[in-house]
Protein backbone atom coordinates (compact mmCIF):
# COMPACT_ATOMS: atom_id res chain seq x y z
CA UNK A 1 0.00 0.00 0.00
CA UNK A 2 2.69 2.37 1.07
CA UNK A 3 4.92 1.43 -1.87
CA UNK A 4 2.03 1.77 -4.29
CA UNK A 5 1.46 5.31 -3.11
CA UNK A 6 5.09 6.31 -3.44
CA UNK A 7 5.12 4.65 -6.85
CA UNK A 8 2.20 6.77 -7.95
CA UNK A 9 3.72 9.88 -6.45
CA UNK A 10 6.93 9.17 -8.32
CA UNK A 11 5.21 8.77 -11.68
CA UNK A 12 3.21 11.90 -11.03
CA UNK A 13 6.36 13.76 -10.23
CA UNK A 14 7.89 12.41 -13.44
CA UNK A 15 4.89 13.55 -15.43
CA UNK A 16 4.97 17.00 -13.93
CA UNK A 17 8.72 17.25 -14.50
CA UNK A 18 8.19 16.31 -18.12
CA UNK A 19 5.37 18.83 -18.42
CA UNK A 20 7.60 21.45 -16.87
CA UNK A 21 10.37 20.70 -19.33
CA UNK A 22 7.92 20.91 -22.24
CA UNK A 23 6.58 24.23 -20.94
CA UNK A 24 10.14 25.55 -20.73
CA UNK A 25 10.87 24.47 -24.31
CA UNK A 26 7.57 26.03 -25.38
CA UNK A 27 8.50 29.28 -23.65
CA UNK A 28 11.91 29.36 -25.32
CA UNK A 29 10.36 28.70 -28.74
CA UNK A 30 7.76 31.42 -28.21
CA UNK A 31 10.38 33.89 -27.03
CA UNK A 32 12.54 33.11 -30.05
CA UNK A 33 9.64 33.69 -32.43
CA UNK A 34 8.55 36.87 -30.68
CA UNK A 35 12.06 38.28 -30.22
CA UNK A 36 11.64 40.75 -33.12
CA UNK A 37 8.57 42.16 -31.37
CA UNK A 38 10.48 42.48 -28.10
CA UNK A 39 13.19 44.31 -29.99
CA UNK A 40 10.61 46.63 -31.52
CA UNK A 41 9.22 47.60 -28.11
CA UNK A 42 12.68 47.91 -26.53
CA UNK A 43 13.95 50.09 -29.35
CA UNK A 44 10.91 52.33 -29.05
CA UNK A 45 11.74 52.96 -25.37
CA UNK A 46 15.41 53.81 -25.84
CA UNK A 47 17.02 57.14 -26.43
CA UNK A 48 18.46 57.66 -29.85
CA UNK A 49 21.98 57.57 -28.33
CA UNK A 50 21.40 54.24 -26.67
CA UNK A 51 19.87 52.78 -29.80
CA UNK A 52 23.15 53.37 -31.61
CA UNK A 53 25.33 51.80 -28.92
CA UNK A 54 27.30 48.74 -29.93
CA UNK A 55 26.76 46.16 -28.62
CA UNK A 56 23.11 46.96 -28.22
CA UNK A 57 21.89 46.29 -24.67
CA UNK A 58 19.38 43.49 -24.33
CA UNK A 59 17.56 45.52 -21.72
CA UNK A 60 17.67 49.31 -21.95
CA UNK A 61 19.57 50.97 -19.10
CA UNK A 62 16.96 53.66 -18.90
CA UNK A 63 13.52 53.94 -20.37
CA UNK A 64 12.51 57.06 -22.19
CA UNK A 65 9.28 57.99 -23.87
CA UNK A 66 10.81 60.55 -26.19
CA UNK A 67 10.20 58.26 -29.17
CA UNK A 68 6.55 58.07 -28.21
CA UNK A 69 6.34 61.83 -27.71
CA UNK A 70 7.35 62.53 -31.28
CA UNK A 71 5.27 59.62 -32.53
CA UNK A 72 2.17 60.76 -30.69
CA UNK A 73 2.33 64.37 -31.75
CA UNK A 74 2.43 63.45 -35.42
CA UNK A 75 0.45 60.21 -35.50
CA UNK A 76 -2.74 60.83 -33.51
CA UNK A 77 -4.77 62.00 -36.54
CA UNK A 78 -3.54 59.02 -38.58
CA UNK A 79 -4.44 56.56 -35.85
CA UNK A 80 -7.92 58.08 -35.79
CA UNK A 81 -8.12 57.82 -39.58
CA UNK A 82 -7.21 54.14 -39.42
CA UNK A 83 -9.75 53.58 -36.67
CA UNK A 84 -12.54 55.20 -38.71
CA UNK A 85 -11.66 53.18 -41.79
CA UNK A 86 -11.31 49.92 -39.88
CA UNK A 87 -14.61 50.35 -38.04
CA UNK A 88 -16.31 51.41 -41.26
CA UNK A 89 -15.00 48.28 -42.95
CA UNK A 90 -16.28 46.14 -40.09
CA UNK A 91 -19.78 47.62 -40.41
CA UNK A 92 -19.94 47.53 -44.20
CA UNK A 93 -18.49 44.06 -44.60
CA UNK A 94 -20.72 42.59 -41.88
CA UNK A 95 -23.82 44.18 -43.42
CA UNK A 96 -22.95 42.60 -46.74
CA UNK A 97 -21.56 39.31 -45.50
CA UNK A 98 -23.87 38.21 -42.67
CA UNK A 99 -27.09 37.63 -44.66
CA UNK A 100 -25.09 36.07 -47.49
CA UNK A 101 -23.30 33.72 -45.10
CA UNK A 102 -26.65 32.67 -43.65
CA UNK A 103 -28.08 32.09 -47.11
CA UNK A 104 -25.10 29.97 -48.17
CA UNK A 105 -25.42 27.91 -45.01
CA UNK A 106 -29.14 27.18 -45.19
CA UNK A 107 -30.75 27.88 -48.55
CA UNK A 108 -30.55 25.33 -51.28
CA UNK A 109 -30.59 27.26 -54.49
CA UNK A 110 -28.57 27.07 -57.64
CA UNK A 111 -27.50 30.63 -56.96
CA UNK A 112 -25.60 29.67 -53.81
CA UNK A 113 -23.26 27.44 -55.81
CA UNK A 114 -22.51 30.33 -58.12
CA UNK A 115 -21.83 32.65 -55.19
CA UNK A 116 -19.56 30.17 -53.40
CA UNK A 117 -17.57 29.68 -56.59
CA UNK A 118 -17.30 33.45 -57.09
CA UNK A 119 -16.12 33.86 -53.49
CA UNK A 120 -13.39 31.28 -53.88
CA UNK A 121 -12.30 33.04 -57.06
CA UNK A 122 -12.16 36.43 -55.36
CA UNK A 123 -9.76 35.03 -52.78
CA UNK A 124 -7.30 34.24 -55.55
CA UNK A 125 -7.24 37.79 -56.85
CA UNK A 126 -4.09 39.64 -55.75
CA UNK A 127 -4.74 43.09 -54.29
CA UNK A 128 -2.13 44.49 -56.60
CA UNK A 129 -4.18 43.31 -59.59
CA UNK A 130 -7.20 45.17 -58.25
CA UNK A 131 -5.30 48.31 -57.27
CA UNK A 132 -4.60 49.63 -60.78
CA UNK A 133 -8.20 49.43 -62.08
CA UNK A 134 -9.54 50.51 -58.67
CA UNK A 135 -7.40 53.64 -58.81
CA UNK A 136 -8.61 54.49 -62.32
CA UNK A 137 -12.26 53.82 -61.46
CA UNK A 138 -12.12 55.67 -58.14
CA UNK A 139 -10.47 58.60 -59.87
CA UNK A 140 -13.48 58.90 -62.16
CA UNK A 141 -15.95 58.54 -59.30
CA UNK A 142 -14.16 61.06 -57.03
CA UNK A 143 -13.56 58.33 -54.46
CA UNK A 144 -9.81 58.91 -54.13
CA UNK A 145 -8.68 60.48 -50.85
CA UNK A 146 -11.93 59.63 -49.11
CA UNK A 147 -12.84 57.56 -46.09
CA UNK A 148 -15.71 55.99 -47.95
CA UNK A 149 -13.51 55.01 -50.87
CA UNK A 150 -10.99 53.30 -48.60
CA UNK A 151 -13.75 51.54 -46.66
CA UNK A 152 -15.24 50.24 -49.92
CA UNK A 153 -11.82 49.06 -51.10
CA UNK A 154 -10.74 47.53 -47.77
CA UNK A 155 -13.93 45.52 -47.72
CA UNK A 156 -12.51 43.49 -50.61
CA UNK A 157 -10.26 41.83 -48.02
CA UNK A 158 -13.05 41.24 -45.52
CA UNK A 159 -16.24 40.36 -47.44
CA UNK A 160 -15.20 37.00 -48.97
CA UNK A 161 -13.41 35.84 -45.84
CA UNK A 162 -16.27 36.94 -43.59
CA UNK A 163 -18.87 35.15 -45.69
CA UNK A 164 -16.91 31.92 -45.66
CA UNK A 165 -16.20 31.82 -41.93
CA UNK A 166 -19.68 32.95 -40.89
CA UNK A 167 -21.27 30.47 -43.28
CA UNK A 168 -19.31 27.68 -41.61
CA UNK A 169 -20.61 28.96 -38.30
CA UNK A 170 -24.25 29.28 -39.37
CA UNK A 171 -24.09 25.75 -40.74
CA UNK A 172 -23.57 24.51 -37.22
CA UNK A 173 -26.89 26.06 -36.15
CA UNK A 174 -29.89 23.89 -37.05
CA UNK A 175 -32.34 25.35 -39.55
CA UNK A 176 -35.21 23.92 -37.46
CA UNK A 177 -34.73 26.89 -35.13
CA UNK A 178 -35.71 29.20 -37.96
CA UNK A 179 -38.60 26.99 -38.98
CA UNK A 180 -39.88 27.20 -35.44
CA UNK A 181 -39.86 30.97 -35.74
CA UNK A 182 -42.17 30.72 -38.75
CA UNK A 183 -44.93 29.74 -36.32
CA UNK A 184 -45.09 33.38 -35.35
CA UNK A 185 -45.71 34.22 -38.95
CA UNK A 186 -42.38 35.92 -39.58
CA UNK A 187 -40.70 35.62 -42.94
CA UNK A 188 -37.11 34.57 -43.65
CA UNK A 189 -35.69 37.97 -42.81
CA UNK A 190 -37.57 38.25 -39.53
CA UNK A 191 -36.46 34.78 -38.51
CA UNK A 192 -32.89 35.54 -39.52
CA UNK A 193 -32.77 38.78 -37.54
CA UNK A 194 -34.53 37.46 -34.46
CA UNK A 195 -33.25 33.91 -34.22
CA UNK A 196 -30.07 33.41 -36.20
CA UNK A 197 -28.29 36.69 -35.54
CA UNK A 198 -28.23 36.34 -31.74
CA UNK A 199 -27.24 32.68 -31.95
CA UNK A 200 -24.57 33.41 -34.49
CA UNK A 201 -22.95 36.16 -32.43
CA UNK A 202 -19.69 34.25 -31.95
CA UNK A 203 -19.29 33.78 -35.69
CA UNK A 204 -20.12 37.41 -36.35
CA UNK A 205 -17.59 38.60 -33.75
CA UNK A 206 -14.88 36.49 -35.38
CA UNK A 207 -15.71 37.88 -38.81
CA UNK A 208 -15.78 41.44 -37.47
CA UNK A 209 -12.40 41.00 -35.78
CA UNK A 210 -10.79 39.88 -38.98
CA UNK A 211 -12.43 42.66 -40.96
CA UNK A 212 -10.91 45.10 -38.46
CA UNK A 213 -7.46 43.54 -38.66
CA UNK A 214 -7.53 43.44 -42.47
CA UNK A 215 -8.55 47.07 -42.77
CA UNK A 216 -6.15 48.23 -40.04
CA UNK A 217 -3.30 46.44 -41.78
CA UNK A 218 -4.11 47.56 -45.29
CA UNK A 219 -1.23 49.33 -46.97
CA UNK A 220 -1.65 48.90 -50.72
CA UNK A 221 -5.04 50.61 -51.01
CA UNK A 222 -3.92 53.37 -48.67
CA UNK A 223 -0.90 53.85 -50.89
CA UNK A 224 -2.69 53.79 -54.23
CA UNK A 225 -6.09 55.29 -53.46
CA UNK A 226 -4.75 58.41 -51.78
CA UNK A 227 -2.91 61.03 -53.75
CA UNK A 228 -2.73 63.76 -51.11
CA UNK A 229 -1.98 63.79 -47.39
CA UNK A 230 -5.52 64.72 -46.34
CA UNK A 231 -6.33 61.16 -45.34
CA UNK A 232 -3.43 59.08 -44.18
CA UNK A 233 -4.04 55.75 -42.46
CA UNK A 234 -1.39 54.74 -39.93
CA UNK A 235 0.04 52.01 -42.19
CA UNK A 236 0.83 54.60 -44.83
CA UNK A 237 2.11 57.13 -42.34
CA UNK A 238 4.58 54.63 -40.81
CA UNK A 239 6.05 54.29 -44.26
CA UNK A 240 6.22 58.04 -44.74
CA UNK A 241 7.60 58.53 -41.22
CA UNK A 242 10.30 55.97 -41.99
CA UNK A 243 11.23 57.88 -45.11
CA UNK A 244 11.36 61.15 -43.23
CA UNK A 245 13.14 60.12 -40.01
CA UNK A 246 15.14 57.10 -41.14
CA UNK A 247 17.83 57.65 -38.50
CA UNK A 248 15.40 58.10 -35.61
CA UNK A 249 14.69 54.45 -35.11
CA UNK A 250 13.22 54.92 -31.64
CA UNK A 251 10.50 57.16 -33.08
CA UNK A 252 9.89 54.79 -36.00
CA UNK A 253 9.64 51.81 -33.63
CA UNK A 254 7.28 53.79 -31.40
CA UNK A 255 4.94 54.36 -34.35
CA UNK A 256 5.25 50.70 -35.30
CA UNK A 257 4.45 49.65 -31.72
CA UNK A 258 1.45 51.96 -31.59
CA UNK A 259 0.00 50.48 -34.76
CA UNK A 260 0.68 46.94 -33.58
CA UNK A 261 -1.26 47.51 -30.37
CA UNK A 262 -4.76 46.88 -31.79
CA UNK A 263 -3.67 43.49 -33.12
CA UNK A 264 -2.12 42.61 -29.77
CA UNK A 265 -5.17 43.76 -27.80
CA UNK A 266 -7.59 41.90 -30.03
CA UNK A 267 -5.48 38.77 -29.70
CA UNK A 268 -5.47 39.04 -25.91
CA UNK A 269 -9.19 39.67 -25.55
CA UNK A 270 -10.52 37.51 -28.36
CA UNK A 271 -7.91 34.74 -28.37
CA UNK A 272 -10.43 31.98 -28.88
CA UNK A 273 -12.28 33.69 -31.73
CA UNK A 274 -9.10 34.47 -33.61
CA UNK A 275 -7.69 30.96 -33.41
CA UNK A 276 -11.07 29.65 -34.56
CA UNK A 277 -11.17 32.17 -37.39
CA UNK A 278 -7.74 31.29 -38.74
CA UNK A 279 -8.56 27.61 -38.93
CA UNK A 280 -12.16 27.70 -40.07
CA UNK A 281 -11.51 30.39 -42.66
CA UNK A 282 -8.88 28.30 -44.32
CA UNK A 283 -9.99 24.75 -43.72
CA UNK A 284 -13.75 24.94 -44.16
CA UNK A 285 -13.80 27.79 -46.64
Amino acid sequence: MQSQLTERARTQRQISLKALALTLIGLVLTMALLFPLYWMVISSLETNQEIFRIPAPLVPAQITFSGYMSAFTTQIPNLVTSLIIALGTVVLSLLIATPAAYALAHFRMRLTVVVVFALLLTQMIPTVTLSTPMFLIFNKLYLLNSYFGLILADSTYAVPFDILIMSAYFQSLPYELVEAAFVDGTNEWGAFLRVMLPLGAAGIITAGLFAFLYAWGDFLYALTLTTTNTIQPISLSIYNYLGQYESQWNGVMAVATLSAIPAALLLIFFQRYITAGVTSGALKG
Binding site: T23, G26, L29, P55, L121, M124, L136, N139, F219
Partner: protein
Protein backbone atom coordinates in the same frame (compact mmCIF):
# COMPACT_ATOMS: atom_id res chain seq x y z
CA UNK B 1 -35.23 22.38 -61.51
CA UNK B 2 -35.01 24.93 -58.80
CA UNK B 3 -38.66 24.64 -57.86
CA UNK B 4 -38.42 20.87 -57.96
CA UNK B 5 -35.60 20.93 -55.46
CA UNK B 6 -37.46 23.26 -53.16
CA UNK B 7 -40.53 21.09 -53.37
CA UNK B 8 -38.43 18.02 -52.62
CA UNK B 9 -37.16 19.62 -49.44
CA UNK B 10 -40.63 20.69 -48.36
CA UNK B 11 -42.02 17.22 -48.95
CA UNK B 12 -39.25 15.83 -46.84
CA UNK B 13 -39.98 18.27 -44.06
CA UNK B 14 -43.69 17.52 -44.28
CA UNK B 15 -43.16 13.77 -44.20
CA UNK B 16 -40.58 13.70 -41.48
CA UNK B 17 -42.12 16.26 -39.18
CA UNK B 18 -45.77 16.67 -40.02
CA UNK B 19 -46.49 17.96 -36.54
CA UNK B 20 -44.00 20.76 -36.93
CA UNK B 21 -45.46 22.28 -40.04
CA UNK B 22 -49.13 22.84 -39.44
CA UNK B 23 -48.88 26.55 -40.08
CA UNK B 24 -47.94 26.02 -43.68
CA UNK B 25 -50.67 26.02 -46.31
CA UNK B 26 -51.34 22.59 -47.73
CA UNK B 27 -50.81 23.73 -51.29
CA UNK B 28 -48.47 26.56 -52.08
CA UNK B 29 -49.52 28.94 -54.76
CA UNK B 30 -47.05 30.00 -57.42
CA UNK B 31 -47.05 33.44 -55.85
CA UNK B 32 -45.97 32.09 -52.47
CA UNK B 33 -43.01 30.27 -53.95
CA UNK B 34 -41.95 33.22 -55.99
CA UNK B 35 -42.10 35.52 -52.99
CA UNK B 36 -40.08 33.09 -50.94
CA UNK B 37 -37.48 32.70 -53.66
CA UNK B 38 -37.19 36.47 -53.99
CA UNK B 39 -36.86 36.79 -50.22
CA UNK B 40 -34.10 34.21 -50.21
CA UNK B 41 -32.28 35.83 -53.11
CA UNK B 42 -32.44 39.15 -51.26
CA UNK B 43 -30.09 37.67 -48.63
CA UNK B 44 -27.46 37.19 -51.28
CA UNK B 45 -28.11 40.39 -53.18
CA UNK B 46 -25.78 42.79 -51.29
CA UNK B 47 -22.89 40.32 -51.50
CA UNK B 48 -23.54 39.70 -55.19
CA UNK B 49 -23.65 43.40 -55.95
CA UNK B 50 -20.46 43.96 -53.98
CA UNK B 51 -18.65 41.14 -55.78
CA UNK B 52 -19.79 42.44 -59.16
CA UNK B 53 -18.79 46.05 -58.50
CA UNK B 54 -15.58 45.53 -56.52
CA UNK B 55 -14.16 42.37 -58.04
CA UNK B 56 -15.93 41.80 -61.35
CA UNK B 57 -15.90 45.33 -62.69
CA UNK B 58 -12.27 46.12 -61.68
CA UNK B 59 -11.16 42.86 -63.27
CA UNK B 60 -13.02 43.68 -66.45
CA UNK B 61 -11.50 47.16 -66.31
CA UNK B 62 -8.06 45.73 -65.70
CA UNK B 63 -8.31 43.50 -68.77
CA UNK B 64 -9.64 46.32 -70.89
CA UNK B 65 -6.95 48.79 -69.73
CA UNK B 66 -4.26 46.19 -70.37
CA UNK B 67 -5.33 46.10 -74.01
CA UNK B 68 -5.00 49.86 -74.41
CA UNK B 69 -2.19 52.31 -74.70
CA UNK B 70 -3.18 53.63 -71.29
CA UNK B 71 -0.81 56.06 -69.57
CA UNK B 72 -1.22 59.23 -67.53
CA UNK B 73 -2.03 61.18 -70.68
CA UNK B 74 -4.80 58.75 -71.55
CA UNK B 75 -6.13 58.98 -68.00
CA UNK B 76 -6.38 62.76 -68.27
CA UNK B 77 -7.79 62.97 -71.79
CA UNK B 78 -9.92 59.86 -71.44
CA UNK B 79 -8.74 58.62 -74.81
CA UNK B 80 -6.66 55.47 -75.01
CA UNK B 81 -5.95 53.59 -78.20
CA UNK B 82 -6.70 49.87 -78.41
CA UNK B 83 -3.42 48.07 -79.02
CA UNK B 84 -4.34 44.43 -78.53
CA UNK B 85 -1.80 42.37 -76.64
CA UNK B 86 1.05 44.81 -77.17
CA UNK B 87 1.33 45.68 -73.45
CA UNK B 88 1.80 42.00 -72.64
CA UNK B 89 4.43 41.65 -75.36
CA UNK B 90 6.33 44.71 -74.09
CA UNK B 91 6.05 43.55 -70.46
CA UNK B 92 7.23 40.01 -71.05
CA UNK B 93 10.05 41.19 -73.30
CA UNK B 94 11.38 43.51 -70.60
CA UNK B 95 14.52 42.32 -68.78
CA UNK B 96 13.12 43.45 -65.43
CA UNK B 97 10.03 41.31 -65.98
CA UNK B 98 11.99 38.08 -66.40
CA UNK B 99 14.17 39.07 -63.45
CA UNK B 100 11.08 39.76 -61.35
CA UNK B 101 9.46 36.49 -62.45
CA UNK B 102 12.54 34.51 -61.46
CA UNK B 103 12.82 36.35 -58.14
CA UNK B 104 9.13 35.75 -57.46
CA UNK B 105 9.74 32.04 -57.93
CA UNK B 106 12.83 32.01 -55.70
CA UNK B 107 11.15 34.17 -53.07
CA UNK B 108 8.05 31.98 -53.06
CA UNK B 109 9.88 28.66 -52.79
CA UNK B 110 12.37 29.98 -50.21
CA UNK B 111 9.50 31.37 -48.15
CA UNK B 112 7.06 28.49 -48.31
CA UNK B 113 9.31 25.53 -47.58
CA UNK B 114 10.95 26.88 -44.38
CA UNK B 115 7.61 28.32 -43.24
CA UNK B 116 5.96 24.98 -43.70
CA UNK B 117 8.72 22.94 -42.04
CA UNK B 118 9.03 25.27 -39.04
CA UNK B 119 5.25 25.48 -38.75
CA UNK B 120 4.96 21.69 -38.86
CA UNK B 121 7.69 21.30 -36.24
CA UNK B 122 5.92 23.71 -33.91
CA UNK B 123 2.54 22.08 -34.57
CA UNK B 124 3.99 18.67 -33.69
CA UNK B 125 5.57 20.08 -30.55
CA UNK B 126 2.34 21.65 -29.39
CA UNK B 127 0.52 18.31 -29.76
CA UNK B 128 2.07 17.41 -26.40
CA UNK B 129 0.12 18.32 -23.32
CA UNK B 130 1.73 20.80 -20.98
CA UNK B 131 0.74 23.89 -18.99
CA UNK B 132 0.50 27.16 -20.97
CA UNK B 133 0.25 25.24 -24.24
CA UNK B 134 -2.82 27.10 -25.44
CA UNK B 135 -1.56 30.47 -24.25
CA UNK B 136 1.80 30.14 -25.97
CA UNK B 137 0.17 28.95 -29.17
CA UNK B 138 -2.03 32.01 -29.40
CA UNK B 139 0.86 34.35 -28.51
CA UNK B 140 2.68 32.89 -31.49
CA UNK B 141 -0.08 34.18 -33.76
CA UNK B 142 1.10 37.76 -33.23
CA UNK B 143 3.57 37.95 -36.15
CA UNK B 144 0.79 36.90 -38.47
CA UNK B 145 -1.79 39.36 -37.13
CA UNK B 146 0.52 42.35 -37.25
CA UNK B 147 0.02 44.84 -40.08
CA UNK B 148 2.50 43.88 -42.80
CA UNK B 149 3.90 47.41 -42.88
CA UNK B 150 4.79 47.09 -39.21
CA UNK B 151 6.57 43.80 -39.84
CA UNK B 152 8.37 45.24 -42.84
CA UNK B 153 9.50 48.30 -40.87
CA UNK B 154 10.58 46.14 -37.96
CA UNK B 155 12.67 43.82 -40.13
CA UNK B 156 14.21 46.76 -41.89
CA UNK B 157 15.44 47.87 -38.45
CA UNK B 158 16.62 44.36 -37.53
CA UNK B 159 18.59 44.15 -40.79
CA UNK B 160 19.85 47.72 -40.49
CA UNK B 161 23.38 48.20 -41.71
CA UNK B 162 24.71 50.51 -39.00
CA UNK B 163 22.95 49.20 -35.91
CA UNK B 164 20.75 46.28 -36.80
CA UNK B 165 20.72 43.55 -34.18
CA UNK B 166 21.19 40.84 -36.80
CA UNK B 167 24.28 42.56 -38.09
CA UNK B 168 25.69 42.95 -34.58
CA UNK B 169 25.11 39.36 -33.57
CA UNK B 170 26.48 37.82 -36.75
CA UNK B 171 29.43 40.20 -36.88
CA UNK B 172 30.35 39.46 -33.26
CA UNK B 173 30.40 35.77 -34.19
CA UNK B 174 32.63 36.71 -37.14
CA UNK B 175 30.17 35.18 -39.57
CA UNK B 176 29.84 38.35 -41.60
CA UNK B 177 31.88 41.53 -41.82
CA UNK B 178 30.56 44.27 -39.53
CA UNK B 179 28.04 46.68 -41.06
CA UNK B 180 27.08 44.27 -43.77
CA UNK B 181 24.50 45.80 -46.08
CA UNK B 182 21.82 43.14 -46.07
CA UNK B 183 19.22 45.25 -47.76
CA UNK B 184 21.61 46.96 -50.15
CA UNK B 185 23.46 43.89 -51.46
CA UNK B 186 21.75 42.15 -54.37
CA UNK B 187 21.04 38.53 -53.54
CA UNK B 188 21.17 39.08 -49.78
CA UNK B 189 18.35 41.59 -50.01
CA UNK B 190 16.03 38.92 -51.42
CA UNK B 191 17.12 36.55 -48.65
CA UNK B 192 16.42 39.21 -46.02
CA UNK B 193 12.94 39.85 -47.41
CA UNK B 194 12.27 36.12 -47.54
CA UNK B 195 13.36 35.73 -43.90
CA UNK B 196 10.92 38.45 -42.84
CA UNK B 197 8.19 36.72 -44.81
CA UNK B 198 8.99 33.33 -43.27
CA UNK B 199 8.63 34.88 -39.83
CA UNK B 200 5.19 36.20 -40.73
CA UNK B 201 4.07 32.90 -42.23
CA UNK B 202 5.16 30.50 -39.48
CA UNK B 203 2.14 31.09 -37.19
CA UNK B 204 -0.33 30.57 -40.02
CA UNK B 205 1.28 27.28 -40.99
CA UNK B 206 1.49 26.22 -37.37
CA UNK B 207 -2.16 26.89 -36.55
CA UNK B 208 -3.52 25.13 -39.61
CA UNK B 209 -1.24 22.12 -39.28
CA UNK B 210 -1.96 21.95 -35.55
CA UNK B 211 -5.69 21.71 -36.12
CA UNK B 212 -5.04 19.18 -38.88
CA UNK B 213 -3.01 17.05 -36.46
CA UNK B 214 -5.72 17.35 -33.82
CA UNK B 215 -8.15 15.86 -36.34
CA UNK B 216 -6.17 12.62 -36.60
CA UNK B 217 -7.71 9.83 -34.56
CA UNK B 218 -5.42 8.91 -31.65
CA UNK B 219 -6.34 5.24 -32.06
CA UNK B 220 -4.16 5.01 -35.15
CA UNK B 221 -1.14 5.91 -33.06
CA UNK B 222 -2.08 3.53 -30.28
CA UNK B 223 -2.50 0.69 -32.75
CA UNK B 224 0.83 1.52 -34.37
CA UNK B 225 2.54 1.70 -30.98
CA UNK B 226 1.25 -1.79 -30.18
CA UNK B 227 2.70 -2.98 -33.48
CA UNK B 228 6.01 -1.54 -32.36
CA UNK B 229 6.21 1.38 -34.79
CA UNK B 230 8.78 4.00 -33.83
CA UNK B 231 8.25 7.73 -33.80
CA UNK B 232 9.54 8.19 -37.32
CA UNK B 233 7.51 5.30 -38.69
CA UNK B 234 4.38 6.65 -37.05
CA UNK B 235 5.05 10.07 -38.54
CA UNK B 236 5.82 8.66 -41.96
CA UNK B 237 2.96 6.17 -42.22
CA UNK B 238 0.18 7.75 -40.16
CA UNK B 239 0.69 11.48 -39.71
CA UNK B 240 1.84 12.39 -43.20
CA UNK B 241 -0.80 10.47 -45.21
CA UNK B 242 -3.64 11.59 -42.95
CA UNK B 243 -2.44 15.15 -42.90
CA UNK B 244 -2.20 15.26 -46.69
CA UNK B 245 -5.38 17.30 -47.33
CA UNK B 246 -4.39 19.92 -44.75
CA UNK B 247 -0.82 20.03 -46.08
CA UNK B 248 -2.28 20.65 -49.53
CA UNK B 249 -4.41 23.54 -48.31
CA UNK B 250 -1.58 25.09 -46.30
CA UNK B 251 0.82 24.96 -49.23
CA UNK B 252 -1.68 26.25 -51.76
CA UNK B 253 -2.74 29.13 -49.54
CA UNK B 254 0.92 29.89 -48.87
CA UNK B 255 1.64 29.91 -52.61
CA UNK B 256 -1.23 32.21 -53.48
CA UNK B 257 -0.45 34.48 -50.53
CA UNK B 258 3.29 34.70 -51.24
CA UNK B 259 2.73 35.35 -54.92
CA UNK B 260 0.95 38.59 -54.13
CA UNK B 261 3.24 39.81 -51.32
CA UNK B 262 3.74 43.49 -51.79
CA UNK B 263 3.88 45.41 -48.50
CA UNK B 264 6.95 43.79 -46.93
CA UNK B 265 9.08 44.12 -50.02
CA UNK B 266 7.95 47.65 -50.74
CA UNK B 267 8.72 48.76 -47.18
CA UNK B 268 12.00 46.88 -46.77
CA UNK B 269 13.67 47.45 -50.14
CA UNK B 270 11.16 49.00 -52.54
CA UNK B 271 12.21 46.39 -55.09
CA UNK B 272 15.83 47.47 -54.91
CA UNK B 273 18.80 47.47 -54.97
CA UNK B 274 18.77 47.60 -58.78
CA UNK B 275 15.54 45.55 -58.97
CA UNK B 276 17.16 42.73 -56.98
CA UNK B 277 14.01 42.23 -54.87
CA UNK B 278 11.51 43.15 -57.55
CA UNK B 279 8.71 40.57 -57.75
CA UNK B 280 5.81 40.52 -60.18
CA UNK B 281 3.58 42.23 -57.61
CA UNK B 282 5.98 45.10 -56.89
CA UNK B 283 6.76 45.40 -60.58
CA UNK B 284 3.08 45.74 -61.45
CA UNK B 285 2.80 48.51 -58.87
CA UNK B 286 5.95 50.16 -60.18
CA UNK B 287 4.68 50.20 -63.77
CA UNK B 288 1.27 51.57 -62.80
CA UNK B 289 2.05 54.01 -60.05
CA UNK B 290 5.70 54.98 -60.39
CA UNK B 291 5.94 55.08 -64.17
CA UNK B 292 2.21 55.69 -64.66
CA UNK B 293 2.04 53.11 -67.46
CA UNK B 294 -1.35 51.81 -66.30
CA UNK B 295 -1.83 49.55 -69.33
CA UNK B 296 1.45 47.75 -68.71
CA UNK B 297 0.93 47.62 -64.94
CA UNK B 298 -2.54 46.12 -65.41
CA UNK B 299 -1.07 43.56 -67.81
CA UNK B 300 1.45 42.37 -65.18
CA UNK B 301 -1.35 42.31 -62.57
CA UNK B 302 -3.41 40.11 -64.88
CA UNK B 303 -0.46 37.78 -65.40
CA UNK B 304 -0.14 37.31 -61.61
CA UNK B 305 -3.86 36.53 -61.41
CA UNK B 306 -3.50 34.02 -64.25
CA UNK B 307 -0.64 32.26 -62.42
CA UNK B 308 -2.73 32.11 -59.21
CA UNK B 309 -5.64 30.60 -61.10
CA UNK B 310 -3.44 27.99 -62.77
CA UNK B 311 -2.00 27.00 -59.38
CA UNK B 312 -5.51 26.75 -57.95
CA UNK B 313 -6.64 24.57 -60.85
CA UNK B 314 -3.66 22.25 -60.45
CA UNK B 315 -4.44 22.03 -56.75
CA UNK B 316 -8.10 21.20 -57.41
CA UNK B 317 -7.11 18.46 -59.81
CA UNK B 318 -4.64 17.09 -57.25
CA UNK B 319 -7.04 17.19 -54.34
CA UNK B 320 -9.84 15.50 -56.25
CA UNK B 321 -7.66 12.54 -57.04
CA UNK B 322 -8.67 9.79 -54.63
CA UNK B 323 -6.07 9.42 -51.89
CA UNK B 324 -4.06 6.26 -52.42
Amino acid sequence: MLSKRLRGRDVQVAVLKPERAPWRPARRSFGYKRTRLLLRVSFLLPAMLYIVFFFGYPLYYSVSVSLQHYDLYAEITGQAAFIGLKNYVIDVGDVVFSQAALQTLVFTVCSIIPQFLLGLGLALFFQRHFPLNRFLRSLMLLPWLLPLVVSGTLWRWLFDQTNGVIDQVLASLHLIPAHFGWLTTPGWALAAVAIANIWIGIPFNMVLLYSGLQGIDKEFYEAAAIDGAGIWQRFRHITLPLLRPVIGIVLILGLIYTLKIFDIIYVMTNGGPANATQTLATWSYNLSFTQQLFGQGAAVGNIILLISLIIALIYLKWSWRPAS
